[in-house]
Amino acid sequence: MIDAAALLEGAVLLSLTLLCLSFILTVIRVVRGPTLPDRILALDMLVATAIGFIAVIGIKTGYTLYVDIAIALGLVGFLATVAFARFILARGNVRDDDFDTAETSNAEKTDG
């Protein structure tokens, strides 16, 4: 029992470490890009990591009520990805993330 608890403690710390690592990696991807979808994907990944984080903290503190937060986050995370995909489409044709050309073309297409 005791060792089990200790084990759990260790596991929690280990997984927190892993999650922090993946957080940082994801952040790097967000900053590095290079393309818009990459960043969005990274944000999606960020949500997933956050969910994991919440869950682990929930286990650590024994407050299982965090499960709802995790679920809700999953829901809106999905919404976010959808919205961003929508955003990519609306922004229209791009070669790479040279924004001005991207947005002028987009402005021509949609505005007015």
Binding site: L8, A11, S22, L41, T64
Partner: protein
């Protein structure tokens, strides 16, 4: 709560976190957005899902567990869709595959699809 469950939970969260980390790594290492999607949509989803279920088990009451399961189910439902939307959108507006790509049978009319949206 008996130690078996505790150990189970411990293992699950470690595995889950590991998967998440793998996904993150994939995000960094894989060449283009489409390949990265593989990592995110599979490993990422699975990772968070496992940890969530672990939490459900650790809670030890059916309500929480069922909620956790429902949540995971929801993720499994949404993950492929977000991947699909993202990929489709990116492709539609012309984000090309990486040079390593060997084949592309997708019709090249991003703008058509795009205008079909509107």
């Amino acid at each position: 709560m008996d130690s078996f469950l505790v150990i189970l939970v411990a293992i699950m969260i470690v595995i889950g976190s590991a998967f998440t980390l793998v996904a993150a790594l994939g995000l960094i290492r894989l060449p283009d957005v489409y390949t990265r999607m593989h990592a995110a949509s599979k490993a990422g989803t699975l990772g968070s899902g496992v940890v969530l279920i672990a939490l459900g088990i650790e809670a030890g009451d059916t309500g929480t567990l069922t909620r956790a399961l429902a949540g995971v189910a929801f993720f499994l439902l949404t993950a492929p869709i977000s991947a699909h939307l993202l990929a489709k959108a990116s492709y539609a507006v012309g984000y090309r595959l990486s040079e390593q790509s060997v084949i592309d049978e997708m019709p090249k009319q991003g703008s058509r699809i795009n205008s079909a949206e509107k």
